[in-house]
Amino acid sequence: MRSRLSHTLGTLGQEILLVVVILALFAVVGSVNARFLSQHNLTSIFVGNAYIAVAAIGMSLVIISGNIDVSIGALIGVLAVISGLLATNGYPIWLAWLAPLVLGALINTLVGCLIAYAKVPSIIATLAMLSILSGGLITFTGGRWISGLPAGYQLAQFRLLDVPSPVWFMIGMTILAALLMRYTAFGRSVYAVGSNAEAARASGISHAATVVKVFAIHGAIGGVAAVLFATQLQVIQSTVPVGLELVIITASVVGGVSILGGVGTVFGSTLAAILFAAIGSSLIFLNVSAYWLRAVQGVLILATVLADMARRRRTG
């Protein structure tokens, strides 16, 4: 029993570490400026970054399966624009919300097939996809923003029990993904494929099918992120934030997903996304000169990672 407990603690280590870091950050910043802890500020930290946390869930699956996706930022951009165009061109709003999920899944199924069946390494397939999607997006939109979105389209501005919907999406999808990963045969096979692809084959798990499914799910989750991204404001930018994919990957790996595949949980990536958002906000509250903001962010990421390494070494 004791060993079971320590085992659970061992696998949850990174998550606990992140919670501790987040709480410590909140405590420190809150003691400097109590406004930081206002419910209002806390929700806005979550709301504005929920799409990153959501996308990081899918990214975690991809990384656990032993792959990587550097095209997710571009995909979110494309899907957001498609959603916006549907909405402004008179299609029903539910379609504008749903289409990105379906399209995201379709596009990434294709990517997954390239990786699984044509044996193109994921970094190459998705680097290529990054080029194709981001170039295609500019060609398609000509750089124009989408404005004049219909009323009721702003899904990310809805509230339930006074909590903004992005927070619900973030929590709900994290829990769903966690259940999927732990309690379904598919979820376990993702770990297996990432841990040892050859052994997975010998265990009768289809490597290819698993990878394709992972990418399809990742695409659909990317679609959700895109909808959150698109519906937060009244205009949709036709370019994606520069380096979004790196932010999402960072959230995943700092959340404890080993880049070598095979280990990691989705809670960690969500917590890491929250941590980054909180860091961004708290530096403003701490009056850290904006010039040094990114350096401080870097130090904090590094500190989290080093603390995790120390913990891993202690627990063996």
Binding site: G243, I259, Y291, R294, A295, Q297, I301, V305, L306
Partner: protein, 316 residues
């Protein structure tokens, strides 16, 4: 299988063929493409990416990655300016100090990766933020201009009719080819990428090799920074943003396995040239930037697909 066919189905050979095909196709599209002046000019433009791609090939062959190269470039660019203008040092001294700083930054990456056993992706994601942040903090977002005219010879001048930085690039490339192919160091690099534990058990200097590789990556990024500053005669803290993806694209297009253990500097060079002539040639044939991006993505996939298909016929 004869030796000749074995060489022919190598990814690098396929890429070279693809390169020649592209050269002819593009030359047919525009008569301004296949001219010495244009090609030399293109070589000048790709020097910074090319320089960094050489140590990056080593990094990726060990199964690692260095995402911080763009940030090191930015940091070193800023430091040249700061040392020269703010600290009042003579420019050559500023350059040397900046090269030292870049080396140190790379060394720090190496220490984090080898001593603290942080996976390279995570370590360099963190230092990506940190070094860029340092660049911003140190420069206080001010750019430094007005370099003496002699300094521009490195980035804008010529030597024997060939852009001066190309000589430097050629030197680094030859050193890279030589080390990776013929020396113990190169052997160790491959062994680390294929089976780090076995390399360790064989008494190879695993840690030292990795440390040196990341240090070299920092040094060469600093070198690229000097070339870059000299070429554009200004320093800004945002220099080199996103260059890591270009570099990685060149390296993986050149046939280096992202999982480590396989790859050649020559492949990287061909990959780099292919990317550059596509960008240039397509632009000259009237394709816009976004279209070019799409084509490069497609070429990346096609190159890998062809080499996958052909390698089925080889048993190597």
């Amino acid at each position: 299988m004869t030796a000749v066919t074995r060489v022919l189905v190598r990814h690098e050979a396929i890429l070279a063929i693809l390169f020649v095909v592209a050269l002819f196709v593009l030359a047919a599209q525009s008569d301004r493409f296949l001219t010495t002046a244009n090609l030399l000019n293109q070589a000048r433009l790709m020097t910074e990416v090319g320089l960094i791609a050489i140590p990056m090939t080593f990094v990726i062959v060990t199964g690692g990655i260095d995402l911080s190269v763009g940030s090191i470039l930015g940091l070193c660019a800023i430091l040249v300016g700061v040392f020269w203008q703010n600290a009042g040092l003579p420019l050559p001294a500023a350059i040397v100090l900046s090269l030292l700083a870049g080396t140190l930054a790379g060394f720090a990456n190496g220490v984090i990766i080898t001593r603290f056993r942080v996976p390279p992706l995570i370590a360099t994601l963190a230092t990506l933020a940190l070094y860029r942040g340092l660049a911003e903090g140190i420069s206080q977002a001010r750019s430094v201009r007005g370099y003496p005219a002699w300094f521009a010879t490195l980035g804008q001048g010529e030597l024997l009719g060939i852009p001066s930085q190309l000589w430097l690039f050629a030197l680094v490339a030859i050193v890279g080819i030589f080390i990776l192919r013929f020396t113990t160091f190169g052997r160790t690099t491959y062994a680390i990428g294929n089976n780090e534990a076995a390399a360790e058990f064989s008494g190879l200097a695993v840690e030292r090799t990795k440390l040196l590789i990341y240090t070299a990556s920092g040094f060469v990024s600093a070198l690229a920074a000097i070339v870059f500053v000299s070429r554009v005669s200004t320093t800004r803290s945002d220099m080199g943003t996103g260059i890591e993806l270009e570099v990685i694209t060149a390296v993986v297009l050149g046939g280096t396995s992202i999982f480590g253990g396989r790859g050649m500097v020559v492949g990287t060079l061909i990959g780099l040239c292919l990317m550059q002539i596509l960008q240039n040639g397509l632009s000259l044939s009237g394709v816009r930037g976004d279209g070019t991006t799409v084509v490069i993505g497609a070429v990346l996939i096609v190159a890998v697909l062809i080499s996958n298909v052909l390698s089925r016929f080889s048993n190597d």
